[in-house]
Each structure stands twice: as C-alpha cells, then as structure tokens.
Amino acid sequence: MKKEITKYYPLIPVFAAYLVLFLIGKNISGMWQLVAMLLFYCAMGQAFNIFLGMTGYVDFGYVAFMGVGTYGMALAITNLAHIEGLGVGVIIIGFVMALLMSTLLSMAVGAVALRLRGAYFAIATIGVNEGFRFLIEGARIWNGSEGLIFTAQLNQILGRESASALMTFWADIMVLIIAALAAFVTLYYMRSKIGYALTALREDEDAAKVMGINVTKYKIIAFITSACFAGLVGATSWALKTPYVFPPEVFEIHYTIEAIIIVLLGGAGTLLGPVAGGLIYGISKYYLAIFMPGFQLLIFAPIIIIIIVLFPEGVVGMLKNRLKDSGLSRFII
C-alpha cells in the first residue's frame, strides 16, 4: 500500500506549481492574463510530451489536433445553440466532439505516418497538418476560410454574463484541470508497462521489436492520448476563450514549434519538464513582449539554438541528474 502512494510522489511538485499559479492569478490583480497564458503553455507542453517525450518521434503537425478540437467545440456550439434546454450540455457535447474528432484524426494520421521514422515521420505530419487546413479552405468545409464565429451562440446558451465569466475565468480553470489530468496520465504511463515499452522503443526501436514488444501498439496509444489532450486544450483555450475559429490560425505551425520548445526546454520525457518549460517559455515571452515589443523572436531564436546545443536534456533533465542519489529524486522524474 505504501508503495502505491510513493508511486505518485512526483505529481506533488507538478500540482504544487499549478496551485501556486492559481493562487497568484486569483490574488494578485492583473496577473490572471499571464497565468492563463502559462496554463495554456503548460497544458500544451504536457499533452505533447506524452507522445514526443516518450517516443522520441517529432510530430511537426501536432497543432492539427488542437485545431480539430477547436472545430469540435465550435461545431457543437454553432449547431446546437438553437435547441432550448440543453444549456451547459452543449459545452459537454462540445468536449465529446473535440475528443472524438482528435481521436479520429490521430487514428488516421497514426495509420499512415507511424509507419515512417525520423525525418520522414516529421515531414509526413507537416503534410497532414497543411493538407487538412487546405482541404477545409479549398472545399469550403465548415465555412471554409471564413471560419466560424460563435460569440452570439455562446451568449445565447449561457447568458451574456456567464459567457463572459467562462471566457475570462472558467475556461482557464478547465485548462488547469486538463493540464493536471495530462500530468496524471503521463505518470500513469511512465509507471506502467506502456512507459517501459515506450522507453525501450525510444532508445532502440529495432531492438525493442526483437525483444517482442509490440511497438506499433504502444506508439499508437501514446499518439492518440497525446492527440486527445491536444484536442481538449484546443476546445478550451481556443474555442471557449476566444469564440471563433479560422483555419490559418488553428493550424499555424508556430504552435507546434512552441510545444516542441517547451518540451525540450523542460526536458523531453520527464514529468515535470513541460511545466518548467511552459513557465520559463511563457514568462519570458510575456515580459519580452512588454519590454522589447517586436524583438521577442530575434532574441528567442539564438537562445533556443544555444539551449539545443549546450543543454539538450533540459532543465528538469539536468536537475534529475544532479539529484540522482538524494532524497528529492523520488519527487522529480
């Protein structure tokens, strides 16, 4: 029994970080906007880490899952708003839609792209992301490039006041819950057969195969899980916070890059890494935008190059190595 509890110790620093974030946002006026942004980055990093960190496969089209998640919520709200009495049920249906759509897309992409490795996989996933975006625009699916705007429908469902409370506060709380859930699932995977299989596959896929590990199965499990969390982040952080969706925005490759940076900065494949990475990335981006507007990317790009070259294992990776034999090591993985 005792062993069962110590298994979950590494969640303590993660949840503590989220609690501190929440308290700062709630109690210091004017901080909520920053906290909301940090929660978004942490949740995105944590969702992405489940696949990228654990398998070592670089999904360059990751944002597509956030995009379809956003569309899932948007479609539910635009199509069901006129039905009386559904109320908050519409939002719940929206989440189900987001999950369903990101699962379907990830299964389709997984069936095609997961046969490929390394650079070929990365290129294939970029192809899927861009292809999906241009299909929506080209064939005018879901209103094509004009996108969907559903502020009015959201107001109709919840009333003006609750809708604005949702956009400015409750959506962020949902992102927090999703991030915490993603952390829990990551740890659960790490401590189960799935995690060991994925570690073996990350180190040497052929050797893992020879040892009798069904690598395809575990890759797909990690891929779909990661995609589902991405869909949920899209449905809350994008659809509920800003009630509109435009294809060029929700399929923008820069979000994938941000997710990769966050995971790498914190330490790929670690539990605490995406949180550390999300906080460092989000805070520096926020304050650079205030103090040096227009120069953020110019400053970021060389810093990222330096980090890749000099500290490839990330902040948490380094911390883990340093604390290897101390008592703290069971909290940080």
């Binding site: 990228l52 070592g56 670089v58 360059f60 095609v112 792209a113 046969r115 490929l116 390394g118 650079a119 070929y120 990365a122 290129i123 294939a124 970029i126 192809g127 899927v128 861009e130 292809g131 241009f134 299909l135 625009e137 080209g138 064939a139 005018r140 094509g144 490039s145 490759i253 890059i257 990769i260 940076i261 790498l264 790929a268 120069f295 990317l297 110019l298 970021f300 790009a301 060389p302 990222i304 190059i305 890749i308 070259v309 490839p312």
Partner: protein, 295 residues
C-alpha cells in the same frame, strides 16, 4: 479554350518547375549527406530574394549578376551555421536538428525584418517577353529557367568529376568507411551543408526572377512546404531527384490549378495545395525512395 489555357499553364509550370527543382536541390543535398531536414529552408530562399532586391533597387545591378553574389552569401551563411550549430548536432536526435534549423530560419527572418522592414516589396526588371501563342513568357522567367538547368548541371559535374565531389559521395555511402580511407568527413559535412545553403540562397534569386513581387521576410514558409513535397517526390536524399521532382511538381501545381478552377464553389488555390500534400503522403507510404528510384 480550356485546352489552350491548360497548355499555356503547363508551359509556365514547366519553367517554374525547373526553378522549384533547383530550389530544392540544397534541401536534398543537406539531407542526403547530414541526414538533417532543414526546416528553415524557406528563410534561405528569402535571403536570396532580398539579395536580388537590394542589388537591383539600391545599386541597379542586373538580377543575373545577383546569382554569384547570392551563392557566396549562402556559402558564407552555411559555413557560419555549420560551425556554430550543426557541427555539434550531427549525431543528435531529430528533435534537436529540426528545432535548430527552424530557429535558424526564424533568426534570419527577424534579422531581415530588422534591416528591411516587413512590408511586401518587388522590383521591375523589364527585359521584354516572347509570345508562345498559348501563353506569354517574359525573358526574365526564361533566364531563370535556363539558369536553374545550368546550376543543376554544374552540381552534377562537381559531384561526379571533382575530388571534393567524390569525397562527399563517399561520405553519403558510408561515413565510417570514408573516414578509414582518409576522407575528411567533417570537412565533407561542412562543405555539403554550405553548398546546400549556397544553392538555396541562389534559388531565391531565380525565384524572384520568376515572381518579382511579394518579397518580404516571411515569404519562405510556403517554399519550405513546397520543397518538402518536391524533395519527397525525388526521394529526399538525391539532389537530381529533387530537380526532376521540381519539374513534376510545377506541372502538377499549374495543371491542377487550371482544372480545379473549373469546379464551382471551391477555392482552387487551396485545393491545389491540398493535392500536393496528398501526393506527399501517398509517395511517403508507397515509395519513400522517390519516383525516380529503381529500388
């Protein structure tokens, strides 16, 4: 009427395709030798476009003369980025190289934005045009096409007839074996990377000769994606495969655009892009070694 339009567009597509092909040879060369996908590819094309623009507008220098200048600039950038960054990442996982090349791309974009600003620019190089009956082809486009073919041939000769070219080919075949035989493998990596970047920056000159407008720091993203499709058509690691992949891509792009435009109620431009990514995925699945390979 439709047939005439189609044949006219296909001729334009073939001319543009040759330039596309040349613009992808650098990407394939770098992947073939270093096994690194240069995700910042388009940013180097953008640098070439700005070199042309600046030489033409500020100094009045003919875009054809911008070709050697761009090549030297590209080689220089290639050496700088190789020795500061790529050299340390040769054995690193994909994650590191992809993010590093993307960051290099961002760095270039932001530097150019800092110097030239982010508005759309263009230049007007009037050298006349020829009428082919079904379409009108400005000489500037023709020169760009001929230039692409010449550069592709020069690369072929360099690879097959010079000592450095053989050294690079031996590294592609077996880098350990090459090292044992006394080939300077590190030098071959550095040379291939710089040559790849040099070719890419040069292609920026030729691309602006075809499309002399819309030059801005962020113009490269679309070219990066096109280059991926073209490189995959040609087998990803072969520069010549990439050149023929470019020709095929140019034909498909312009041909399908003409046909999609006939369907009412769709956006033909977006559907053309969609088709190119479908082709990308199909080839990666069926024949990842490329259309031309016999394997």
């Amino acid at each position: 009427m439709v047939f005439e339009q189609l044949s006219g567009n296909l001729i334009q597509g073939l001319v543009l395709g040759a330039i596309y092909g040349m613009a992808t040879m650098g990407l394939s060369l770098i992947f073939g030798v270093l096994k690194v996908v240069n995700v910042g590819h388009g940013a180097f094309i953008m640098v070439g476009a700005f070199v042309t623009l600046w030489l033409f507008n500020a100094l009045g220098i003919n875009p054809i003369l911008a070709v050697p200048v761009a090549f030297v600039v590209g080689m220089g950038l290639g050496f700088i980025f190789y020795y500061t960054t790529m050299q340390r990442l040769i054995k690193a996982p994909e994650l590191a190289t992809l993010l590093a090349t993307f960051s290099i791309g961002i760095l270039l974009e932001e530097l150019v934005k800092l110097i030239f600003g982010s508005e759309f620019r263009g230049y007007n190089w009037a050298v006349g045009k020829i009428n082919l009956g079904v379409t009108v082809l400005p000489y500037s486009k023709l020169y760009a096409c001929i230039g692409s073919v010449i550069i592709a041939l020069l690369l072929y000769l360099w690879f097959n007839k010079t000592r450095a070219g053989s050294a690079v080919r031996s590294v592609v075949e077996d880098s350990e074996g090459a090292r044992v035989c006394g080939v300077n493998v590190g030098g071959a990596y550095a040379l291939s990377f710089s040559l790849g970047i040099g070719l890419t920056v040069t292609s920026g000159v030729l691309l602006t000769m075809f499309i002399p407008v819309g030059i801005n720091p962020y113009m490269g993203g679309g070219y990066t994606l096109k280059a991926f499709v073209i490189a995959v058509l040609g087998g990803l690691s072969s520069p010549y495969g990439a050149f023929f992949g470019g020709l095929v891509f140019g034909l498909i792009e312009n041909g399908s655009y003409t046909l999609f435009a006939l369907i009412p109620g769709v956006e033909p431009f977006a559907l053309t892009r969609f088709l190119s990514f479908v082709i990308l995925l199909v080839i990666l699945l069926i024949k990842p070694t490329g259309l031309l390979s016999t394997k």
